[in-house]
Symmetry: C2
Subunit: 340 residues, 2 copies
């Protein structure tokens, strides 16, 4: 019987505002060999996603907050080292909802096997995974863009936003992105084929967005909140749909912004424009996952959807990479690479 | 050829805050006999509804604002005096989307004939009319309460709120109202059969609402906004539905309330609780009107739905009755009675 050392990142303190290194600590744990039905795994890739910031708080976000001293959740792509589940053999590559750690023992039934020939395995954390399904299902069930309608998405070079725009474009919509800086905007408009991309750092952002949406906005896929949402709201058309999937601009706020209170005006816009605002978490649409993977696989194979990854190596890069992502300093899907 | 004098109330100035008498003026106009296809009508009942406040502003609400010097819109029940449309005869009673005035010339095709034997004709302005369809369609298409779920509605003794609660109750929901004062609350709980009714003037309103909704709130039918909405939001369950049909508490506000700005927190609640906020105007669901009238007629005949009217007599009562309604000093559907 051999032993494996698993290193984990645990929540040490609840971040006040922006997370800092001292809010986390590294721990090591010895893992035994797998028991019946279990599999010993080595993490190859870990996913960093904005929703994790909410889980660091005490109050319930989507789910109850992570306990102090507990590991932080993430999706992981891992390699089977040892298996006591007949469905898995050493060398198999799987995706699993796990934690910020480099090795783990899991039950085989919690794993989904990946075919490394079909696509790079880490795409199971991005374009072929949770962010991809978020974009696909949010558009399909809530946004419902029709050909010729205008779809706006912010964080347009990010893991979800880039796919929202490309999927909507494949459906015949006019697609306008918002992203931070000229480099990202160039990528979104040129490489991803959006009709336009507005720089959120530009003081004229609201006016430029209005100019890029001459027929108003029919679908706004909300990932960001803040100034982009304020610029979008007056441009929404009657019966516009707003899938609300994130509000990253405010995740590190320590209290409500100064007044005046815009919430009555927001409700009045909902009323007078017959808007639909609908929050959702991707797990609601888990049933769509197989169909989504088929469709996205076809789009990728045909070169109709492109994606970009922002990769850092090593567990010790988790915290800086996470903070950089919350600040919009990532460029593409944020991944931590632990082993080949 | 005879002539008829029509008296109208025109918009004289855009109200700043609460409407006052000087914002309106009376005008008289001579109406000729009806031409081919036309009908001369005498208004018997005029309807006052909160949405009219928005039409007095310059900016678009549901529809563009009323022009200065133009008459104000309302639904009316009227009697045919003379007809040059073969479908109508003197003495017929009709309902028509018209204006604040006592006589009018209209095309026959704009009128819907009422049967005075089926129900008191003024119910075409309330329980059998626009407010009734608003409650019915808003629940049917947006609120979608299931048996055992909790439905909350404010202005619960008013034209729409009273019907929202009774219709939801007929569908098996638990129904909690909010109304202004002990008399209205007693009526809502006792006469209308709501499970509970909370007094919005009570300083403990939020706590009482929470106590009356031990399983949270699944549907909040929004007519009011303001403090009631603030009390409802924390109680909404995951996947709660909020048909947004009015925000009367803010209709006379001259600017946004003081801060802090609660709109980011509102969007975060939409996200983390997977809420649906959906604004609507009853005209969207006009296709449901025949089915609605059949169903409501049956409920009324069976004594399963009750209603209450707040009647004032004479065109000169329009303004004070309208202001009283906006302030919640009406008790039931607000009607102006002009002739028997």
């Amino acid at each position: 019987m051999s032993q494996t050392i698993a290193r984990s990142i645990l929540l040490n303190a609840r971040p006040e505002g922006w997370p800092k290194e001292g809010d986390f600590r590294m721990a090591a744990q010895t893992l035994p060999d797998p028991g019946p039905g279990e599999v010993l795994l080595q993490s190859l890739w870990l996913s960093l996603d904005p929703y994790m910031r909410g889980r660091m708080n005490a109050g319930a976000s989507y789910a109850p907050g992570v306990e102090l001293g507990a590991p932080l959740p993430c999706e992981a792509v891992a390699r089977v080292l040892k298996s006591a589940d007949p469905g898995f053999a050493p060398g198999d590559i799987v995706v699993v909802h796990d934690f910020w750690r480099d090795h783990m023992l899991r039950r085989g039934r919690d794993l989904r096997k990946l075919d490394p020939v079909l696509a790079p395995v880490q795409t199971a954390l991005g374009v072929m995974g949770m962010p991809g399904l978020t974009a696909y299902a949010g558009l399909r069930h809530i946004g419902k863009p029709r050909a010729g309608e205008t779809v706006v998405v912010a964080a347009a070079s990010g893991a979800v936003g880039a796919l929202v725009g490309q999927i909507a474009k494949l459906g015949g919509a006019r697609v306008v992105g918002v992203a931070g800086g000229a480099e990202k905007c160039g990528y979104v408009a040129r490489d991803l084929g959006f009709d336009a991309c507005i720089d959120r750092h530009d003081p004229q952002m609201a006016g430029q967005l209005a100019a890029a949406c001459p027929n108003g906005i029919d679908v706004y896929f909300e990932l960001v909140g803040g100034a982009v949402w304020s610029a979008v709201l007056p441009l929404l058309n009657p019966f516009a749909r707003v899938p609300v999937c994130g509000t990253i601009a405010g995740y590190n706020d320590m209290g409500p912004p100064l007044g005046p209170d815009q919430s009555p005006a927001l409700m009045r816009s909902v009323l007078t424009k017959s808007l639909t605002l609908r929050g959702f978490i991707v797990s609601e649409f888990a049933v769509d996952a197989p169909e989504f993977r088929d469709q996205m696989g076809q789009w990728l194979a045909a070169g109709q959807v492109r994606y970009r990854e922002d990769v850092r190596a090593g567990l010790d890069q988790m915290i800086p990479a996470f903070v950089a992502m919350l600040a919009g300093r990532n460029f593409g899907k944020t991944l931590i690479h632990l082993a080949d």
